[in-house]
């Protein structure tokens, strides 16, 4: 199908979809071209199963049958004197060795209860507590980004049929998901945009954004068969999502920021250490790292990938060979713009008296300090904006310095 600039395009432009706030005090990031991918692992990743504290004297006693071993068929891959990596993450290991990946242990949002949905709301809204879900922190950050010239497009991309909370809000964002259906005619689209323009501006804005992504995707050579290869909890599904995001981000007018959701991390039952549910999921995540690195190509060097989850899992194994919801969690950073090859942690230890409420890894690092560190260095965002607009009431969680490669 040949695409020519049509009325569709003109309408998108005139709807002034991208209104940058252009807040004062923002060092121009225009000379650099920073890219950010945020991956949310829904269901609470078992951080102690992925980046394993094999050097903690209490670990094997506490974890029992769920503890990953350092010897045997599929041993954990050594990271530093305290931690080793799950063997289903070889790409992450390569990046770590190349100083392009790091991990943050014992990290948590301000949320201290154990509901997935409230936990995800806090993670995505960037608010100090649950219940404030009007918009997401990544959308507020995009709203605050200085405009890049006369771009009529949004800077944010959500992979999936619906936008995750983290991307919802005033700034327009694009959505993309693998699908296999013939596009409607441009004439129908422009008539519908007209009608929405008169009756329902919100629908007009949404449809115009959707159409724009279609154009981008076609430009990126993605107009072939995009049949979904699997759900967001499957290895092919995670790979495909990452591949699509990478190709769109590399397109000439592509988004700079993308959010992906991978699901199914709620490993209450038969988690593994290896050969169980967690191994499968981590393989999918590792595949996503690989697809991003390959797909982003020359912009991988200016990319940061942040992997987060709503909370962690209990230190001890539960009654069904899994782990229940716990507070302290894990975050991962990867990308050519990351100063990697290290772990960031203030390790609380796993002795009984060190556990949070006698069951969970105690959180010692505020996740917002990590995220603010990424935004502050990578995008040169002023701390004041981060502590008010993006993560309200988070002044106490100072951005962690030195996350970005020089």
């Amino acid at each position: 199908m040949i695409f020519s600039p049509t009325r569709r395009h003109a309408l998108i432009g005139s709807a002034s979809l991208f209104v940058a706030a252009g807040l004062p005090g923002w060092a121009s990031a225009a000379t650099r071209d920073p890219r950010l991918v945020v991956i949310i692992l829904r269901g609470a990743l078992d951080g102690l199963g992925a980046v394993v504290p094999v050097g903690d004297p209490d670990f094997f006693r506490q974890r029992g049958g769920l503890a990953l071993q350092t010897v045997g068929d599929r041993p954990a891959l050594p990271l530093d004197s305290l931690f080793a990596l799950h063997p289903a993450l070889p790409t992450f290991k390569k990046l770590y060795d190349a100083k392009q990946a790091l991990f943050v242990q014992a990290v948590a949002t301000p949320y201290r209860e154990r509901s997935h949905f409230d936990g995800q709301d806090v993670l995505e809204s960037g608010q100090p507590g649950p219940g404030l879900v009007r918009d997401g922190w990544l959308n507020r950050f995009i709203s605050a980004l200085p405009s890049r010239g006369d771009r009529a497009t949004g800077e944010g991309l959500g992979v999936g049929a619906t936008a995750p909370l983290i991307l919802r809000g005033a700034a327009p964002v694009m959505g993309w998901a693998p699908q296999n259906i013939a596009p409607a005619s441009e004439d129908l689209a422009s008539r519908l945009l007209d009608l929405y323009g008169q009756r329902d501006p919100a629908l007009q804005k949404a449809l115009a954004q959707g159409l724009h992504v279609e154009t981008l995707a076609r430009g990126a050579g993605m107009d072939g068969d995009q049949r979904p290869k699997g759900g967001p909890d499957s290895i092919p599904g995670m790979r495909q999502a990452a591949q699509g995001a990478a190709r769109l981000m590399r397109a000439p007018e592509g988004p700079r920021i993308a959010a992906l959701s991978f699901e199914g991390w709620d490993t209450h039952v038969n988690e593994g250490p290896v050969g169980g549910r967690l191994s499968q999921l981590l393989s999918g995540l590792d595949g996503a790292f690989e697809e991003l690195q390959t797909g982003l190509g020359d912009i991988w060097g200016s990319t940061m990938v942040v992997v987060t989850t709503e909370f962690g899992r209990t230190v001890r194994i539960n009654g069904t060979a899994g782990a229940d919801h716990g507070v302290g969690a894990l975050a991962l950073l990867a990308g050519g713009a990351v100063k990697g090859g290290r772990g960031i942690y203030d390790w609380p230890g796993l002795a009984d008296e060190k556990l949070y409420e006698k069951r969970d890894l105690a959180p010692t690092t505020d996740l917002r300090a990590v995220l603010k560190g990424v935004l502050a260095e990578h995008f040169e965002a002023p701390e004041k904006i981060l502590a008010t607009n993006v993560f309200p009431n988070s002044a106490a969680a100072k951005p962690i310095a030195g996350l970005a490669a020089a």
């Binding site: 154990r114 219940g131 049929a161 936008a163 959505g175 998901a177 409607a184 009608l195 009756r199 909890d233």
Partner: protein, 491 residues
């Protein structure tokens, strides 16, 4: 009849049902919008769904077990074949070549005898499609569709996901028919009991694998409690996340629920696939839930706890807010929520009374239509408008997946989002348009879009929509605009 009466008829069908069918029902609805809806609610057994090809939950699980056994036997046979060949190979092949050649010969052995026909769909897939087809047809045929909207609402409130595995796929349809439909106009407490004891829910939220840590089986097998079901009952099904419970309440309820299971394939404790109480995994002793002691152990302990949760004011408020959000607005008027909660509480969770209170509320017809139709509603409403029900439910199921609401497969136990913003996403709107275009272009004998607009929207149509539809280049394009018009997207 005034214009505003006509508009009320349109609003009633849109807000509480699936919109007009285009066969003159709008004319009936506008005479007495509330009466039109009430008649559907009062129709005996309106929510029930039965028919050939729709087995009970235990029957569908039994078929699944039988099929799984057959597959396992087949695998075992294949493994034995390989073992036999391996013995032969040991005598003839060099040891270093052994492993590879065994695999190769096993693969050749299975590939050579004239390629086997593709495996027929498994029983769980067949059951799922039969139930999906029945559900869609029921919604398509419904007069107003309010009862089917309530079914979808409650099914999403007590969400399970077929993605969890075979048992939930096979039992998802039965779950809705057996645990939701009989109670959507009955008592909330009865629905709660039916839901939490249904095999689909017991499997989905892991209660099948929960052991009382001090129960005989828990002690012997060193297995323990799984909190998943107990937590979600408190957080999602009854009190709501701000309902004032703590971790100790989660543990207490989870303990009381130990032993609530369904019988396995061997049928040791009852008919395979049916609910059982397995006493030897039940946590012994009294439990304290929200300050109240539940003493007598056994199956009735959790039953009493669930009924006490159903009767809490927090549950009334939680349900009232969700209903008002679903039917009226993302941020519904507090007065409406209070009224619904009051009715719920006062009537002991009588959902017929609560549904009546909803349509009798003044906001029901005065609040502007801000809510987006979710993908299920969009697909049903579009089919009703075009009056062409598909013979095969497959295209409906793939449309729902593309739009982000695969049937009975929400991302988590909190169900699909009920926010308008979720469904008015860029990707979602574009796919809606592509689907509307595809559907209307495939019509063999398309109706006149202007006439259909009169029949289905009447005075509810805006001038702009009328003009856009009238000026369309083809009938198909006019119909696509009708399906995509704000009047058909919002309710």
């Amino acid at each position: 009849m005034s214009i505003s009466d006509e508009k009320q008829g349109f609003a009633a069908l849109a807000r509480f049902g699936f919109g007009a069918r285009g066969d003159g029902d709008l004319a009936s609805a506008r005479l007495d919008p509330r009466g039109f809806l009430r008649a559907e609610l009062d129709q005996p057994g309106a929510a029930l769904l039965a028919g050939p090809g729709l087995p009970s939950g235990d029957a569908s699980l039994q078929t699944l077990f039988t099929e799984e056994d057959a597959r396992k036997a087949e695998r075992d046979r294949l493994a034995q074949d390989i073992a036999t060949q391996s013995k032969t190979a040991q005598q003839t092949t060099q040891p270093a070549m052994q492993a590879q050649s065994i695999m190769e010969s096993a693969m050749q052995a299975s590939a050579q005898p004239a390629k086997p026909p593709p495996r027929p769909p498994s029983p769980d897939q067949l059951f799922f499609r039969a139930d999906a087809h029945a559900r869609f047809t029921h919604a398509y045929m419904a007069r107003a569709g309010m009862v089917e909207r309530l079914v979808a609402f409650w099914s999403n409130h007590f969400a399970i996901s077929v993605a969890k595995g075979g048992p939930t796929r096979a039992a998802a349809g039965p779950f809705e028919r057996e645990a939701i439909r009989p109670y959507v106009l009955g008592k909330f407490g009865d629905m709660l009991l039916a839901v939490e004891s249904h095999p689909a829910m017991l499997f989905y939220l892991d209660n099948q694998q929960s052991f009382g840590p001090d129960s005989p089986a828990g002690q012997k097998q060193k297995r323990g409690r799984n909190e998943n079901l107990g937590r979600e009952i408190l957080e999602l099904h009854t009190l709501g996340v701000n309902g004032g419970y703590s971790q100790s309440d989660v543990i207490a309820l989870s303990n009381m629920l130990t032993g609530w299971r369904f019988a396995g394939r061997e049928g040791k404790f009852g008919t395979p696939g049916s609910f059982i109480f397995q006493a030897n995994v039940h946590e012994p002793g009294a439990q304290n839930l929200l300050g109240a002691d539940f003493t007598g152990g056994g199956e009735d302990q959790a039953r009493a706890a669930l009924l006490s949760l159903a009767a809490r004011p927090e549950t009334a408020r939680h349900v009232a807010l969700k209903l008002a959000k679903h039917f009226i607005d993302d941020t519904p008027p507090q007065a409406l929520v209070d009224r619904l909660a009051h009715t719920f509480f006062k009537t002991g969770g009588d959902l017929h009374a609560v549904s009546l209170a909803l349509i009798d509320s003044p906001e029901a017809f005065t609040a502007p239509p801000t809510k987006m139709r979710n993908p299920w509603e969009f697909c049903v409403a579009s089919t009703r408008l075009l009056d062409r029900a598909p013979d095969d439910v497959g295209p409906v199921l793939s449309s729902l997946s593309m739009l982000g609401q695969p049937l009975w497969q929400p991302p988590g136990p909190n169900g699909f989002s009920d926010d308008s913003a979720t469904w008015a996403s860029p990707e979602g709107m574009k796919i809606r348009m592509d689907l509307a275009s595809q559907w209307t272009n495939r019509l063999k004998d398309p109706p006149d879009p202007r006439e259909l607009l009169e029949m289905a929207f009447g005075a509810g149509a805006s001038e702009e929509t009328r003009k856009a539809v009238a000026r369309a280049e083809t009938k198909a394009q006019g119909l696509a605009l009708l399906l995509m018009a704000p009047e058909a997207q919002r309710r």
